[in-house]
Amino acid sequence: MNVLDETMEGARIAWDAIRANKLRSVLTTVGVVIGIVTVSLMATALEQLDRSFRDAISFLGTDVLYVDQREWFIDSDRRWEQAGKRSKITLLQARALERDLGMVRGVAPTVTANIDSARHAGRSSGSVMLIGTTEQFLTTGGNTLAVGRFMTKAEADGSRDVCVIGFDIAEKLFPGESPLGQILHLGERTATVIGVFTKRGTVFGQMSLDSQVIIPIGKIIREFRWDPSCTIQVKVGDTARIETAKEEVRGLMRKIRRIAPGRPDDFAINQQEQLVGQFGKVSAVIATCGFFITGLSLFVGGIGIMNIMFVSVAERTREIGIRKAIGARRRTILFQFLLEAAAICLLGGLLALGFVTAAIAIARQYIPGITLSISVVILALGVALVTGIVSGFLPAWRASRLSPVEALRQE
């Protein structure tokens, strides 16, 4: 008996059996439906969480290295203290790295400072993050300009009084007028606005990328932060080469900072991956808890299927006898009932996906961009199939072992 015919025959029998007991089949699937609905919603929520997170950290860039004094994630207080004692990364060191590093798209040293306000014509923006950097920041930071231009190399090297401002600041301080060429008061100092970034939104709903003010790094060191430690942004330009680039940066930094061979690094090379890794740990915990709960509801659903399959086998004992008498092997009978259980569960899976689609359509009003992805659909149907096969196995196995004489004797 070939596999295709066996499947076709089994599917036909399963379909007949389900149709003959419509109400019973539907009621049986309720447990599975609930299980699959929770699995699908759970998976969709996790996907959404993951997507929001990746969106949120996308400003960091997947192919950008951040050379810093400290690691972003330090898991012990002792190491945190040690990292704090490291010598600062000076602008000279950053310049040296920039000079010696080949094969990257851009290297930009950055220094940040928070100031209470940026003001113009009596209007005040509230607290602002100042970033001092060079003309390369446009490449490494992944910003685009809405109007105007970014600082030139001459302006950066000469520490001119120019600034590029975030979208929110432009809106707040220059309503209805062009900010270009206007004087912006930054604390006690001033700078001429030469460009405005396009809107970028916030990170984790807090840190706004649109209320930053970018000025030449020389200016920030001169006027806002004396003797800071730089963060050097290195745009590799190709995620495939990021590991090689990382090693190159590491070697150069050790040379620049004169670290003796065998001594540990006294700087850190951070990247977006680390954040993703940390988030992965959190989402794994959520997923484990969630799937444990959904697993329970699926288990209950599976018991229902098993129960109804036992009933189905008992009702159709005579049919099993007939089939065996005319040549059905054990495997054929086993397969037939497994297929029936799987079909009931798949039906439940499809029903569940219907509910989930509706639920997501409603949720979309509150969570924009949430969708039912193909992978969730596949997961849901896969879980349904497995539930059917697992819970149908025992009844099917029992059916396959029936003696034909006994089975035919049944009325």
Binding site: M1, D5, K324, A325, I326, G327, R329, R330
Partner: protein
């Protein structure tokens, strides 16, 4: 070589603490092309003998050879294959699949034999035509009379060209006239060279065969050849 050779077949069942000896040493042989009736009162072991002959059950001791196959040592799946290839069953209660059409009922043994769709359809249709049901192929059992159902069962039994047609009270659930039609069909099958084995308790049915084997208390009481 005989089609069927039974050598001191015993079959006993455990019923609680008691052991029931349904067959206590049956030996016989049946040649190809014979038309044999097996008779006996209920409890005689006639059903057990039929189950053993039909490879639905295996003897406790003794050997059974069917068409050169030693059936006694076979496992479940091998027995299923033997039933599929060598034996066609006709039951008192027809035993058709209620939800399937006549055509699908007749096709079933061919599906289990692994025949592909086109050939299977053709062979099944031919079998239904041979029992005079060429115009009823898409009817379900509940849309047919008892006689028609039994014809479908006969078509299903013959469709794999088995070496043995095994009928258990084939006319038991039919009126006399319809029963006669079925027996006429059996006469034709005998005439065309089929081997028929009919289990019955009706003398009139047994008289249509050419050899009557009577079973009593798990043993062969008589083996009579009719002229």
């Amino acid at each position: 070589m005989s089609l069927i050779r039974l050598d001191t077949i015993c079959r006993s069942y455990e019923m609680g603490v008691e052991t029931v000896h349904a067959l206590r040493g049956v030996s016989m042989s049946i040649e190809r092309g014979e038309y044999v009736a097996i008779m006996g009162p209920s409890g005689s072991g006639k059903s057990t003998l039929m189950n053993v002959l039909g490879c639905l059950d295996t003897p406790t001791t003794g050997s059974y050879e069917l068409n050169g196959h030693s059936v006694g040592e076979m496992d479940d799946d091998e027995l299923a294959d033997i039933r599929n290839r060598e034996i066609g069953f006709v039951f008192q209660t027809f035993n058709l699949l209620a939800r399937s059409t006549a055509l699908r009922n007749v096709e079933l043994p061919l599906i289990y034999a692994g025949m592909d769709l086109d050939e299977r359809r053709e062979v099944a249709l031919a079998a239904l035509q041979s029992v005079g049901l060429g115009d009823r192929v898409l009817h379900r059992p509940n849309e047919m009379s008892g006689g028609q159902r039994q014809r479908v069962a006969i078509a299903r039994a013959l469709v794999n060209q088995p070496s043995l047609l095994l009928a258990d009270e084939p006319t038991g659930n039919l009126d006399t006239r319809t029963g006669n039609e079925i027996l006429e069909l059996f006469d034709n099958l005998y005439a065309s060279g089929h081997t028929l084995l009919v289990v019955t308790h009706e003398e009139a049915v047994a008289r249509r065969s050419r050899r009557i084997i009577r079973i009593r208390d798990g043993l062969i009481a008589s083996d009579e050849r009719l002229p």
